[in-house]
């Protein structure tokens, strides 16, 4: 009995620790004017107020939300499609320098994005893409090393015999990929998609640098606007964070099973 209490105790403590920031987010988002400084952080503001949400939407937050959904969907779709094609090539096609190319590409994971930001900005400027949707989306739309790595490892673990059988039945490369490989790769595809959605949804620095007009502004930048030189409107920041959080939460709850499974599966060789 004691042995069971201890691990559960640790798990519950860990849970509380992990949930606490979100708990504070919810409480702070619903505090009205003056309640933030008059109450303790973990004390609810009574009566609850939606004033922060009013300020948020008065600042054009609804439009930013729509932009973020569209941009996230666009970039994610691009990343998944191109990553599948690239990963399959790295896993199954043979061409000169394939593995070298793969490792070189993978090594770009080690370069922090901050380092490439200014050169990337200059490239976009030369292409005339500053403050355009294309400039916002293209640099990351053509796949990411991490997604390609995950997919390649998974594709390699699929028995080649299955693909050979398809080939004997007359399927070409594309048909094999679409009809045999992809259906077997659902868990990893869900994982890669989820990771892409989360990364693009939260993306901040690049959208900030490359876009300027308000009609192309994203959520993350819209929330940061409530942090001014003099002070921070914590209520509005938390209200915005709460709204930004909900879609990710839904995504995780729906696909949780797949995500856990794919991480477990990729561990096997």
């Amino acid at each position: 009995m004691r042995l069971r209490i201890l691990p559960y105790g640790v798990l519950v403590a860990g849970c509380v620790f992990a949930i606490f920031p979100y708990f504070l987010t919810v409480l702070t988002a619903f505090k009205g004017p003056g309640q933030l400084s008059q109450t303790l952080p973990w004390e609810p503001g009574l009566p609850p107020s939606v004033a922060a949400f009013d300020r948020l939407f008065a600042s054009g937050f609804g439009g930013y939300l729509v932009n973020t959904v569209l941009v996230t969907a666009g970039i994610t779709a691009g990343q998944v499609v191109f990553a599948v094609l690239a990963a399959y090539s790295f896993a199954r096609l043979s061409f000169p320098g394939r593995d070298a190319l793969f490792w070189v590409y993978l090594s770009t994971l080690m370069v922090p994005p901050v380092v490439t930001m200014i050169p990337l900005y200059l490239m976009m400027q030369k292409l005339g893409l500053v403050d355009t949707w294309a400039g916002l989306m293209l640099p990351t739309m053509l796949g990411t090393p991490y997604a390609i790595f995950l997919l390649r490892q998974f594709f390699r673990s699929i028995p080649a015999d299955l693909e050979d059988a398809a080939r004997i039945d007359g399927a070409g490369r594309v048909r094999t990929l679409v009809s045999i490989v992809l259906p077997l790769s659902k868990p990893i595809l869900v994982t890669v998609t989820t990771l892409a959605v989360v990364a693009n949804w939260n993306s901040f620095l690049w959208p900030l640098i490359i876009t300027s007009s308000e009609d192309k502004r994203l959520l993350s930048v819209g929330i940061a606007l409530f942090k001014s030189e003099i002070g921070v409107d914590y209520n509005a920041v938390m209200a915005g964070s709460l709204i930004a959080l909900v879609p990710l939460l839904v995504l995780f709850v729906v696909f949780q099973r797949f995500i856990v499974r794919s991480v477990a599966v990729t561990g096997l060789k």
């Binding site: 004017p33 005339g128 500053v130 490369r173 640098i209 606007l225």
Partner: protein, 428 residues
Amino acid sequence: MSQKLSRRTFLIGAGSALALAGCGSSNDGASSGGGGGKVELVYRLWDEQQEVGYKAVFAAFTAENPNITVRMEVLPWDQYWTKLTTELAGGKAPDVFWLTVENFPDLAGKGVLAPLDDVISKAGLTLDSYHPNVVQSYKFEDKQLGMPKDLGIVGLLYNKDLFAKAGVTMPAELTWAPDGSGSFMDLARKLTVGDKQWGFCSWNHSQTQWLNWIASNGGHAMDKPYGTFDFAGQKSIEAMQWARDLIFKWHLSPDGTRTNPPTGQATEMFYRGEVAMFPANNALLPFALPEVKFPIGVAAMPSGPSGRTVVINGLAEVMFAKTKHPDEAGKLVAFLGSEKAQKLMGDAGYVIPALNDAGAGYTAYWKKKGIDVQPFLDSAAGSTVNMPIAEGWTAKVAEINKAMNDLYLDKPEVAAIAATMDKIGNDK
């Protein structure tokens, strides 16, 4: 078993990727002129509240200059500088944008800010009409690189409820001295209740705290703009020691374990009614008002052994040296410096205009909200001192402010802290 990727397939792929990259519209972003001689200028700022005010200003500007429209870009305060730096590395920037005293030195020497002397004289304006400290802050090698916009001035906010409860009133003049004498400390004593309520909050904030004490004690943080730091001078050390004594010797203020940045707790304590008197920049008022449950009073800062000298922190609008529309941007800058534009912003209660004698509307606005802000304006008209600036300042100022955290803890010696700060500031 596998096909080779032919060179031709590869080239087709690469070609289509490039074609895709070329798809975006080639809008240059920074400034785009439409047809028919119409010009759109980009004006960048970081304050969402003031954005509302500037809509009226730019409507008035376009009424006078029908061919020029202004598009505002509001950015978050922290990221304003990240984005500006990246853009300047790419050789572009908004046509006209805001600048602070702290960030001025990093840009002034790089040739990215257009000299405004011609713009100012051509528009029939004269720099003598603006607050001299704000004018001085944006001067570099005898060229005026910034149009004085507004000024932030430090005053003493106080909690009128706590004053009433203690049965005291705010006198017209408060005094302090390093030895602990003066009416300011007597008042703070009456407003301190055990360790629940503090008469004052002595905390690490350069603009509203220690720079004022140093100046009012007859010392100086720096001998001249881009000069030498002198925190270790005797007058400076006395003033810093006094700031520490308020906490540890006379127990009139919470200590640095609670108030040291980056917590932001000092301001919160005033909002909660735990601190009776709290020095602040006038720009804090719009943020403080919705957060407090007591009436706020405003008084002038206490005057020290060499009188009252208050820190002033002015903003300026600057013009990008390589703007595509120098004539139009010049007209905009001149308009922003005009009485009409400055009064529009002042009358709506956003800022105290940098233009002399244009603050009446600001006072009237806050009077309607029940706050007499005249002490702020009087202080601005009295003896004022600029925040120090030096080459590479944005990196140094963060280090200096961090070193000052120790003053509000009971160690080490004040002289040692001052020496550290001088070293950071004077190192090349």
